[in-house]
Symmetry: C2
Subunit: 245 residues, 2 copies
DNA sequence: GCCTTTTTTGACGAAGCGTCGAAAATGAGC
DNA sequence: GCTCATTTTCGACGCTTCGTCAAAAAAGGC
């Protein structure tokens, strides 16, 4: 690994600048407001130069999605350090997911956009595999926790595929709930009497895990207290930032 | 209500033709392959005429989404007629959801596309409210089943909001699982050992409902047999069509 | 058959993506 | 410091799509 030349550093810096500008545009004006011409204008480079970094608009988004996945993963990893039973640590990951969606809605939106086939088709192979390895981070954390629980005898026993099934359940529930509750034109309040989707989601996590018999069950443990500890000990800053809205 | 004039009938027919052509395009070439110019070409009307029916491309999609919601609702309603306990009927709705996603993937894709804010922003008020009332159909069926269960003492007792919470749980789990398992770049098989997402989803439904204590619990009832009956008695044609792939 | 109203048409302007030859900057050799 | 080949940057251009609107065509009343 030779040290970078001045030119190489310039290029790397410019790439960061482009992404920074692109992210700002994404936040301010949404996906349709993000255009290659506008990126060129805002960075004061020409369009041709932008296209030397990214082969198409989709690749810019994939790069942003990579950053998003890294932020999410780092939250998940912090959550997994919570000292306690595996199921408590899983609850902490649930909190991390919630915080990610609420504190970084733009990152969540980017993840969503990159989840479509038409997007994936256009992202060059190299960038795509980088994105996928970024996305694997979170999944590994969650899967690791489920396996820990099995190893410690808290969850199932005989069938090792239970870990994957539980993770699929939590993942689909979280993903679906986040989409539904941030989706326009869905009125959970009047139709279904749900004022705080997150509270219900947490209750549903517990119901699912109880259904799998993941110990300690909700009836024999004070998970409300666990949540309070997670807020205070793992994510104090994030909780404060969330309150400052 | 005066009877329709010849002209009015012509216009109504043309609208159906446009939607038919648009759906075909959506199926054959995907969302990006669906263009207003192409609709004009294929219907042999001019673009201006198309724009007299639909104010923008998004409105065409909203109209398609309306049809999709109606198909989904009719499957759900058939499922709810299954003779049995409320939880069995809920299982039938789960099967209906699965059949909808598998038999009509293009309808599912259209629903997804119309679930985005950028789409919703552009759909005219009138069409949007029509779409939303179409979408409410399914939710009413599911919510009705949960309320039936409560009325019969199978689910919860004191707190009436439990019905909404269970429905939110099932809905988010189904939505998330369907998205994840049809999503590109997600390898459930190698990462999590899941070959058949639908089997796992069904197991997760049961775990969630057991967690809520919705009777009869999975341990005290043969839901595999219930599924077989649903296949045979409610959706024989659909199951056959699914097998013919 | 004439004139008004409604309907249809497609050329047009605007906006965005991605390209490519020309122009500018770089730097190696002398 | 100058020259010339190579690398880098630039932005005008071609193409596609959306949505509009004035003009042409059709319909219909008298």
């Amino acid at each position: 690994m030779a040290p970078l030349t001045r030119k190489q550093r310039e290029i790397a810096d410019r790439e960061l600048l482009i992404l920074e500008v692109a992210r700002g545009m994404m936040v301010e004006r949404g996906y349709l407001g993000l255009t290659m011409d506008r990126i060129a204008g805002a960075t004061e480079y020409s369009k041709g130069t932008i296209y030397q970094h990214f082969s198409c608009k989709e690749e810019v988004l994939a790069a942003l999605a990579c950053e998003s996945a890294q932020i999410r993963t780092s939250l998940f990893e912090r959550a997994a350090t919570f000292p306690g039973r595996a199921r408590e640590r899983m609850a902490a990951v649930g909190v991390a997911d919630f915080l990610f969606v609420r504190l970084y809605p733009q990152h969540f939106a980017i993840e969503r956009i990159c989840d479509t086939a038409s997007m994936r088709d256009k992202i060059p192979e190299k960038r795509l595999s980088r994105l996928e390895s970024c996305e694997d981070g979170c999944k590994s954390v969650v899967l690791g926790l489920a396996r820990d629980a099995m190893a410690q005898g808290d969850l199932g026993a005989e069938d090792p595929s239970v870990a994957g099934q539980v993770v699929f359940g939590l993942w689909s529930m979280a993903y679906g709930a986040n989409l539904i509750s941030t989706s326009p034109g869905v009125d959970l309040e009047t139709k279904m009497g749900i004022a705080e989707p997150w509270d219900v989601l947490f209750r549903n996590y517990n119901a699912l895990l109880d259904g799998y018999g993941w110990k300690p069950l909700a009836g024999e443990w004070d998970y409300a207290a666990t949540l309070e500890r997670i807020y205070a000990e793992v994510f104090p800053d994030e909780i404060r930032r969330l309150a400052d809205r």
